[in-house]
Amino acid sequence: MHKARDSALRTLAAAAFLLRDLSRRRIALLLLFIVPALFDGVVLATTASREVEVTLGSLVEPGAQIRTPEQSAVDPFDTSLDDDGSRRLDERRLSLVFLGAAAVCFLACFLAFNLVHKRREADARLVLAGFRAYEVLLAKVAVLLVLVALLASYETAILRPWVVPRQTALVIAGLFLGGLTYGCLGLLVGTVAKHELEGIFVIVLLTNVDVGWLQNPIYFAHSQSTATIRALPGYGAAQLAVVGAFTGDAPHGVLLRAGLWAGGTLASALVAFGSLITPPRADRSESARLRGHYARVLGVAYLLWFVAFEAVGRFAAGLRTVDLTSAWDRALPLVPAFVWPYEACYALPVLSLLVVRDWHRFNVAILAILVANVSAFAVYVTLPVAFARPDLGAGLSERVLALEYAADFHPGANKLPSMHVAMSWIMVRAMWGQATSRVVDAGLAALLVLLTVAPVLVKQHLVVDVAIAVPWGLGAYWAAGKWYRWIVGEGESAPDGLVRAFAPWRRFE
């Protein structure tokens, strides 16, 4: 109890000092009051007061409550009853609200950037001196929340002479969530940017393109790709502010989306900044240190693989495809329950972090995955395979499988050979014999069987994809092993070996 109280007091004290540190930066305070007023002044001076037709994208989203109760009573799933989100609004008042959201996002981003940039070393020192990392993080978040709340309230207040919102709470919620999202992006930029100028450049670019330009409802109405605009972080803030200001609608979908953006960016900022200020654990064993190192390697490898796989798939899906469905594929039934072992494949590399003890083997597996994928990509673009998927029911497994189908490339790509199967064989090969207990090997063997048959039984792959993927994976592992042993000398540490295997022409200084 005492510990929690002390921790809370330390967090509050840190927050008070951080707020004091930020508030003494005159330019920050000046911007806080001047930018919203300046934006509003420019709008009032330059925008005509006339009616324009705009599209409020949030009103045509799932979850948007835009029907009369009578309409909902008729058929809640009949989309023909929905409106198209178009409204006629006063251009000047609309611009005031839309640019008000932009001002809040820009300022939140800039102030949050200042909250961490040039203070990273001091924050890390504070943690080294005895503050817990989470106390410093909570203090930063507390300051950010205060700033964003202040900004959202101030902006709503200065809009009032021209725009009396129909739903003030929704306007404030939109400005707050947008400010929080962009504040967290500011924390992220402040964490990674080396110099102040490059950080500010990123902030100006980011806020200008998203909330200052693309989220303008007038622009949105005529955009060719509203999906892209909806996917941006400022969408929620702009939509909630405009809908709250001018309509009585309750767009739950966009509220949820804005909340998810705020939560997601907050989590990312906390992880990034937290890892920067958290000192390494001194009592970590050699094996724990290596495991941590390879967890980071795995994260980067996973990300790179995902980007490359998506890029190749999207390109190949646009090519002319062939259907290689055989009599065996027609004879094999759809077994939706196999979607679970199918999904387990994604966790296999994480499992390998716990099982592998010889990290040179892990290096070979990473190399093998590279070899298997690069060679497979060549096949994907020369022989794109597509085939018909079965209809799915409403069970839980089928719903999960439906998500897989929806996320897949259309009409089809990246099928032959199955990377799901090839990578499973590579990872199990790397783990084989590494655990002290034979039971683990037996479990791995059983899992491998399930992972091999699952893609066919959930109709994500054809028999031929899987039949070729097994030797593909094992062959890649064999070739990677040969290469690795040739390049990496005896006695070389595993982390050094991985670096050398990828760039053998370079030498350690």
């Binding site: 930066r25 203070r119 080294l128």
Partner: protein, 205 residues
């Protein structure tokens, strides 16, 4: 006497560059130790590893007492005053309020920071900032003090104040390890090491 600070077979690599290659070190109570080396030889990296501010690739580091670390870069908040820094870091060190106040007053006086106690860091000269940087690391009266170029930017009077503090710390049984490019009064040191090729080489005292 057993070592209060020890590093054993420490390895550290940044990308392709191996900075430390099996560095070992021992610091004892009442010792004043200097680590010298060329620019980029890994002195600051070694000190950061000893302080626990940076991870190592291989090896072991242990410290048996409270530690104070003064980094090379002035790790301070630009718009907090000198006094506020000492107050904030006293909370980090979990010092009771009267102890914190007494310690802060002692350091303000010793390093002649009194006239600037209510000035924000941004308004201070480089040398005064460095004195604050140093004072923060000494606030909790640590048994082991790691100082990375502690007197960079000091004027003569400040340098003398530092030397007086170092002598006193040594007599008081502290282990002081400092990094410098140049050691003017080598007779004050119990050991001087050169960091060359990722390893420490003793010069003797």
């Amino acid at each position: 006497m057993s070592a209060i600070l020890a590093a054993e077979d420490v390895h550290k690599r940044y990308g392709w560059r191996r900075v430390l290659r099996g560095t070992s070190f021992e610091g004892h109570p009442g010792q004043l130790v200097a680590i010298l080396g060329e620019n980029g030889s890994g002195k600051s990296t070694l000190l950061r590893i000893l302080a626990g501010a940076e991870g190592l690739d291989r090896g072991r580091v242990s410290c048996l007492g409270t530690m104070g670390y003064c980094p090379q870069e002035q790790a301070v908040y630009p718009y907090l005053t000198v006094e506020e820094h000492l107050e904030l870091f006293a909370r980090a060190y979990r010092l009771a309020a009267p102890v914190a106040r007494a310690s802060a007053e002692r350091l303000l006086e010793r390093f002649d920071l009194g006239p600037w106690r209510r000035e924000v860091v941004q308004e201070l000269s480089g040398g005064t900032r460095q004195k604050l940087n140093l004072a923060i690391s000494l606030l909790h009266d640590p048994a082991v003090v790691l100082l990375d170029e502690p007197y960079a930017g000091f004027d003569l009077a400040s340098y003398r104040a530092f030397v007086a503090w170092a002598d006193e710390a040594k007599r008081g049984g502290k282990c002081v390890v400092l990094i410098a490019h140049l050691v003017l009064e080598s007779e004050r040191f119990d050991a001087i090491y050169n960091l060359v090729g990722g390893k420490l080489h003793a010069q003797g005292s």
